[in-house]
Amino acid sequence: MTTDNHVDPRGPRFGAAITSVLSLIAFYLSLSNQSLAYAIVVALGVLFTWSLVSPSTHPYGWSFAKFIRPNLAAPKELEDPRPLKFAQQVGLAFALLGVIGGIFSAPLITVSAAFIFIAAFLNAFFGLCLGCQLYLLIRRVGIIR
């Protein structure tokens, strides 16, 4: 097993904390100012896509490396990026639900923001990565290999 591409698990959790704040704002706004909420959900979709296409240039990763990591002790263990990547794809799927579904039905923006918030919040504050948990289950039924 190689560990060269492994990541400090606190990086994704830091990112999830920012995502949870953004999605909570989007949730709140979706109940009053829908166009602004829609813009935030689009931004979340862009951020999820960015982390899949080029994780090393992602603003979350960049700010973690620049401002947070230097103040932390060395990580106790490193994490394999595969489940994390899958979790980002799940996040993107929910963002797309808001971006595409939101055109036709405004409540879908609220639903999208709520799901992203719950997943990001659990990841950031409880260390529970729902997408990562799904990864094994989905491999188990053979949808991805």
């Binding site: 097993m1 698990p9 909570l24 949730f27 709140y28 109940l31 009053s32 106790k76 263990e77 490193l78 994490e79 394999d80 595969r82 489940p83 709520a114 918030f117 719950i118 919040f121 659990l122 504050f125 409880f126 529970l128 990562c132 948990q133 990864y135 094994l136 289950l137 491999r139 188990r140 039924v141 053979g142």
Partner: protein
């Protein structure tokens, strides 16, 4: 209170409750009553390059891991230390990354998952997620591991 604020607070409360429930149940484990058995000749588990053919005299601890499991290395090292300290205890690890069919066979939904087996290889206790520190020792004591 403004209903949009109330709904936002409700969302935070729901997420927090979900997190607390998760934290409460994670790593607690439960006894297994049915006598599902581990068959060593089928699993073909290697340890230090040699195939395991016998269970531990008092108990066996099985760790199911994957290459992409973040918590597994820490659980592995603590179980290896435990094996070293206790007499009659065997610790084995099964990497299911490329044997995902085993996950379905033993109903494993997350890694790490830990099984505690009696000397006959019957599953007596199972823990999903990183085990709580004292759980394994308590269960091993019941099987006579000192």
């Amino acid at each position: 209170m403004d209903s949009t604020i109330a709904l936002s607070i409700a969302l935070i409360v729901v997420a927090t409750l979900a997190g607390l429930v998760y934290r409460f149940f994670r790593g607690r484990g439960h006894s297994v009553s049915g006598a599902q058995c581990i068959k060593l000749e089928k699993l073909k588990i290697l340890k230090d390059g040699e195939e395991i053919t016998k269970f531990g005299k008092e108990a066996t601890v099985v760790l199911f891991s994957t290459e992409y499991c973040g918590q597994c290395p820490a659980v592995r090292s603590s179980l290896a230390k435990l094996e070293h300290r206790k007499g009659g205890l065997l610790f084995i690890e099964v990497d299911i990354t490329h044997r995902i069919n085993l996950a379905a066979q033993f109903n494993i939904s997350q890694t790490p998952t830990v099984f505690i087996l009696n000397p006959a290889g019957e599953i007596r206790f199972r823990i999903g997620g990183t085990p709580k520190p004292t759980t394994i020792e308590t269960e091993l004591k019941k099987l006579g591991v000192k």
